[in-house]
Symmetry: C3
Subunit: 633 residues, 3 copies
């Protein structure tokens, strides 16, 4: 596979006279694929039923003329103002019950039936007109579902749809009352129509109420997306794509991905470092202009899973952005490094956001490849160099990693509903273990809970809410090493503690009696060094104990190829535990210098220096932001 | 008096087939009293007017059969869903004006007249049916008034009732205008119907408006409680009880207590340490698994006053809870220690919350004496041991302490309305002085402002809003030592500065010219060591000055048996001041090692080690969590 | 000019029998001017159309009898309760859409047409009755516009008026769409009636939408004020005044000032230190009882500009206030120092707020010159001494400073709409540079962007949104030194990036390619010492580079008399940069000891010691809070 580069382009933002020169320059720079149209509804359909496709026809032609491929987008993330006049109740409501008003983007509730129909209508019209165009190599549906916290709406539309969803799930209200444990505080319902959304309750609502609402909200995204996918698919066989965001876990990306051919995500390493990496301030300062060394990698691996192997970076930060609390510029070389990191994770395409910086509106301080005055931005030569390198590069051979982490969206919702300790977070736990593994230089696959484990030597299953049958079945015949926990199997699917107590796996004699949570500043030291941070389970077991706290509590227990981890290890403890696991599983690894990371494909091994300083790796000095690769045989 | 142990039990959460074994095991463990029913309304009355008492009949019989005593509860903290359908406006509103919706508990406004009637109806029906049952030794009314900030409601019902309350208090609107000082910003009203609740004003409302609203809100709780008390009392003479919460000061517990026979409170030492103790992070870390060494003691003494001598711990934390920011497990021995600390403060009963951990709903991570799988929880043997110890223990003789602190709810509301410095808090001041005294090993009584001072050698009156006539009368003939202030007597009952200025006590030539507040990080050092923190009054006086700031301002002044304290002393200063006072009052004391506490009853002196390490006390080593007692003669 | 002292007096708060003694004592103390009436509407007009002027007649007579001058105020900041009954929709709404209720003050929306009429009505009635009274030397209109965040209202009245304002500005909706860049996210409008206020949008609204709303909101204050000014001016020629607040930048004070003769502001040095100075905690601790050494000075200079040379301190803090997070007392001597600092900045009058501390309502803990019991407050002798000193002092001759800073309200709104980095703030930038200059002992004028630059030797233009034609024209012929930036000229008036990119000034070959923002904890060091903090522009230039970062980026560039500053310098860097500029401009300066400040008028040079300790200045020791002056020849 040969990766390609691209960019995001907004012909509607510029005079038509500029398009041809833009397209020529894109091609000259070595870009191959151009995403267009995701915010242009008011230009497609300036008033209900009146369409102005001519400009789009021309824009696509212009790009095609220069040999550029096009990803065309449905514009449903930005319904025009007249849409809100037609459907005033299409707006979502926030948790406080306030309308989320027109004036930016994503101003719709996924449960609003008429807006769903409008979305299908525009998608179908676009597909009808453009599906056969040879330049169009893919369709993006909507834009960044969930961005700005838009998955969960507390509108009347959502409430009505939630009741329908619950009735379909539970059939009888008594089944719901039992599943939720509503007897607890006399919360029993007499009929589905009494159920309200779980906001503004006096104190916390029932966690199963919350979890069902989160499941419902995710399902609404899935079905909303599917409606558009079906509308387009009727006209074309090119891949359908969505561009996901970093650390947005409030809908099930796997399920959306199942209705699409390619997953993509929008990678803003500096923006996310401050906003979403969860890193402490020393770490943020160290990587201020480079981004977190693991955050992008995690998402690359995640979206490879979401796309069933096919994935892109749809938006790659090319300079300072406008939306994080602070917005520094990437260190010279980092845009190239980020691009190669994506390729090392088997990205098919990396598109820079955006071609030219807009001088107006919300993102006028967001860098592009060109400045607003059409001069090359600072990053331009670096992108040109990267394009040349890729041109000269061999094909990348994909490969399955030896190590896999099971990552589950539903579990993230569950732990959000019931963190039990202020620092517990499902994404955070998975990402932290991922980071520890990556420090050991190993390549990792991310798996959904139902994925096949075939071919893996080591599988981690951290923080999984409840055991799916299919996973238990796989584990029973799996011969690789498995590390389970903490918190895995601690609930039933209805968010109740299972009858035989966590971790609720019959092949292990292990019972979680109770859980302790404590501040990150009060870790519980382990006998062999390091500590458990924030989360520790009190376990009764007759199995072999491999790790204990200094006061003798079991932390890692073992039987055959199974390990159970009863707490959240800090980096020192995680390093040691993983080294033992990797040794046992006969997986090669090597402890990376801090800030240096590695990934192997089937054909190449890549090494990246995320540090702002030079560092010696395997006897050779790597400059700041350096990338090194070697062919594997 | 012989204290007893008990537990909180929810037969409605478990199959009836399990009840007999549960009851047998409770009795075997040494428990004597079982609280039931406070959340079971949807099981008493599944639809309006249809009752299903049979299961409750059977549950009570089962407990009685095993010799267990029962405290039966009215279920009014958890009105069923159908109740909200009948009275949609029964819901409270928060300060932002949002409805506080169904879906958890305490979803009612104390001012809603129809819900008051429904509450009386269910209480009367229960009393009618069960009052004569010999196993029932007490009735709990409702559950944890004020929990989840539920005393103050901003609903229309509350607004209407507030106007009625104001009209009854002031009779004429001019009297209100004068009392509130409404001329200040043209805030004068023409009629009571114009008055609104003091939320959402442009800047802060008049403090007397606030204070009257807080008084009104408290009165609504008192009258609500009284309605149920009267309904039940018509059928029985056994004690009526309410279970108060820690550090909830937004209604007057003394006034609720006046309509009941026993006060009880729900003691969660680890949950409260993080949430409510106000302790700094070093202190929290030191006592992470033991709880604050003074917080429970303060409440024990407070509720002994609220109950006029008769008080229980109705809910005692037995393991990790689910609701604090972090939820560690008690250090082994602490549940026993907490139990004995309660007994040392003359508790009649200590009930562990709860018998068996529920595997469902909001509190599924809240430990019980049994695990969800019915196996003994970690704490079980410790409770068994404690039960045996109590069995073998002598009777406890009650005793009045030598030292008393006057604690007043209304003053807490006043200082909440007008803190003047960000760290001033009425509860915090009283508790801080209490802690300083307790570090000196003395036993303390807490008094309401109207209580008799007879028999006390030293009385503290800190932060009392205004002088009640009855207290002034008592002081005039009191021969013990009195420490007044800071901030005591600084207002009239209408929240105005008194004509002769604070502290407004004629027997002392002392005038507070002005007050300074400053950050906790900027203390004002005292000449003799230590400092005043956050609050310092500038005092003019001709009396003897016992303590001054290093720049010469009087801080402690003295005349006869009266002392006036013009600032909030830090621990070092408080220690010195109290040692002098205790010396003067000829009260024995001894400075405790940090984390060690002591309390004496009429018959025994108890010593407690709250530290996680051993410590030498009076020449003997006390292990972590150790309790030691000796009989007094 | 001879400055005078005064006070704020509330006859309506006290029995009429006390007024004569009050007036006598004021005169005896040396006060000359008394402000009255700004909160007394409910006493002027207790019910609609019924007036009770007799008491006000008597109060004015009483003051006049003792030779006191009067500033009479319109009471429109405190509409009475009946006004809200007449116009229930006159209340503003907050950004969440909640009504801002009656019960304190400033409870009106500037866009409410009927309330505007009511305001004019009462102003006209007062002017009709009192304009000819010889004791009345000025009129204050309303009180502290903007206090409690009252400029921007999200009411229906505001929305309607905003649409009218936009239609008047843009005429055609397409012009608005273009100006705002609404194509960006399909935000295009079809008609003005579709435009809503920019609150509660899903993510941030268009910055031009925000900026226009902020401009509109400011214009509403200007026109509201002008209505009253015209009503009064019809009857009198004495000066009209408004009392502005510290660091309130949400309306254009210059524009309000253009309709009045005198600007005044309310100076609370201790209250503002905590609340508004933006100083770090070490600085706050150092100046806890003295106030920020530059905050008052900045506002003095600002309001001299707003008043076109004529300005007062209308309210001067005389002791602890009640409204800051903590409220310490001024160090002895500071009230005198603050008074002299105002005089050194050419104040015509300084009025202490308030004569007697009120014992009731919201500000009962706010000190006055008298205590509530009518005894002299602690500050009284200090005020008496200050009055004597002023009496004996020479006339002050005004003088234009050598150095000026251009300060622009609109730019503050722009950077609030789009900070780009969490620590960027227009006021903060200007104030920080002002502080650095003042540390060098120079006197400074503040200028509006349209002011004449004639006579200045050095002009700073930091953070100016867009270049006004008039300023560009002046610069083209200006011979003094000019320091521009950072961020100046970075937008068009429509909040778009200008075509030739910032700083968009043709006389300088300098292009800002992009901007970096970073945490205050990650400064970028400069080659010559010090650093750039939080904001750094990447500049391309062929001009002389005077300062660079250690990695070689230009930070200060120079051509002829122009300098461009591409980042926000820390104090060390600013000191060096300013010293060079002052040297070049041949302006005398001397680095002040920390906490010592200086200001010169045309006749005197004043030196102030803001430290709580003695400090040697020019070979002489200044005590804490000392003021020193010398006559200039
Ligand atoms: Zn994006
Ligand atoms: Zn409870
Ligand atoms: Zn004021």
């Amino acid at each position: 596979m040969k990766p390609i580069l691209g960019t995001c382009y907004y012909p509607e933002h510029w005079p038509a006279s500029q398009w041809d020169e833009d397209a020529r320059q894109m091609a000259e720079l070595g870009l191959k694929v151009i995403r267009i149209g995701e915010f242009a509804w008011s230009r497609y359909e300036p008033e209900p039923g009146r369409f102005t496709w001519a400009w789009l026809d021309q824009a696509i032609e212009t790009l095609a003329k220069h040999g550029l491929q096009v990803v065309l987008c449905t514009p449903t993330a930005t319904p025009p103002r007249w849409m809100v006049d037609r459907h005033p109740d299409m707006l979502a409501r926030d948790e406080q019950g306030n309308e989320r008003k027109f004036g930016s983007r994503r101003h719709y509730c996924f449960s609003h039936i008429a807006y769903r129909e409008e979305s299908v209508r525009i998608a179908r019209l676009m597909a009808e007109r453009y599906a056969k165009h040879p330049a169009i190599v893919g369709w993006q549906i909507d834009n960044e579902y969930s961005c700005h916290d838009t998955v969960r709406s507390y509108s009347d539309s959502a409430c009505t749809a939630f009741r329908v969803w619950l009735a379909a799930k539970y059939h009888k209200i008594d089944a719901l009352n039992t599943a939720w444990g509503n007897v607890f505080w006399s919360m029993e319902y007499d009929e589905f129509a009494q159920i309200e959304l779980p906001n503004l309750t006096v104190t916390e609502p029932c966690p199963t109420h919350l979890l069902d609402f989160y499941r419902f909200s995710s399902d609404q995204v899935v079905s909303y997306n599917k409606l558009q996918a079906e509308a387009i698919r009727a006209y074309t066989d090119v891949p359908l794509i969505h561009n996901y965001m970093g650390r947005t876990v409030d809908f099930d990306h796997y399920k959306v991905g199942a209705d699409l051919e390619i997953a993509s995500w929008d990678s803003y390493p500096l923006g996310f470092l401050v906003d979403r990496s969860g890193a402490d301030s020393a770490w943020q300062q160290r990587f201020e202009r480079q981004g977190d060394p693991d955050f992008q990698a995690f998402h690359h691996d995640l979206y490879r899973a979401v796309g069933n192997g096919r994935w892109w970076v749809m938006e790659q930060q090319p300079g300072p952005v406008n939306w994080a609390p602070n917005n520094p510029a990437p260190l010279p070389g980092m845009v190239r490094l980020w691009t190669w990191e994506a390729i090392a994770h088997q990205a098919e395409a990396v598109c820079y956001f955006r071609w030219r910086q807009a001088p107006f509106a919300q993102e006028q301080m967001h860098a592009g490849l060109l400045r607003p005055d059409s001069q090359p931005a600072a990053v331009y030569p670096e992108v040109a160099e990267t394009a040349r390198e890729i041109q000269q590069f061999d094909d990348i051979q994909p490969a399955q990693a030896d190590v896999a982490i099971v990552f589950d969206y539903e579990s993230c919702w569950a732990w959000e509903a019931q963190p039990q300790g202020e620092d517990f977070d499902g994404f955070g736990l998975a990402f932290d273990l991922y980071r520890s593994l990556r420090r050991l230089g190993v390549s990792i696959d991310i798996l959904k809970p139902e994925s096949s484990l075939d071919g893996y030597k080591l599988v981690l299953i951290p923080g999984l809410l409840a055991w799916p049958e299919v996973l238990l079945a796989q584990l029973s015949s799996f011969s690789g090493s498995v590390l389970i926990g903490p918190r895995t199997g601690s609930k039933t699917a209805n968010f109740q503690i299972p009858a035989q107590l966590p971790p609720n796996i019959s092949s292990l004699d292990c019972t979680v009696q109770y859980v302790e949570t404590f501040p990150i500043t009060s870790p519980r030291p382990l006998t062999d060094g390091g500590a458990v941070r924030t989360w520790l389970e009190s376990v009764q077991t007759t199995e072999t104990v491999l790790e204990t706290t200094v006061d003798g509590q079991p932390v890692l227990i073992s039987r055959g190829n199974l390990r159970y981890l009863a707490g959240w290890p800090d980096q020192e403890a995680a390093q040691r535990i993983f080294q033992r696991l990797l040794d046992d599983a006969e997986i090669a690894y090597s402890l990376m210098p801090e800030g240096v990371r590695r990934r192997a494909t089937g054909s190449h091994e890549f090494t990246f220096n995320y540090n702002a300083t030079s560092v010696e790796v395997d006897g050779e000095v790597m400059a700041p932001a350096a990338v090194r690769w070697r062919a594997l045989d």
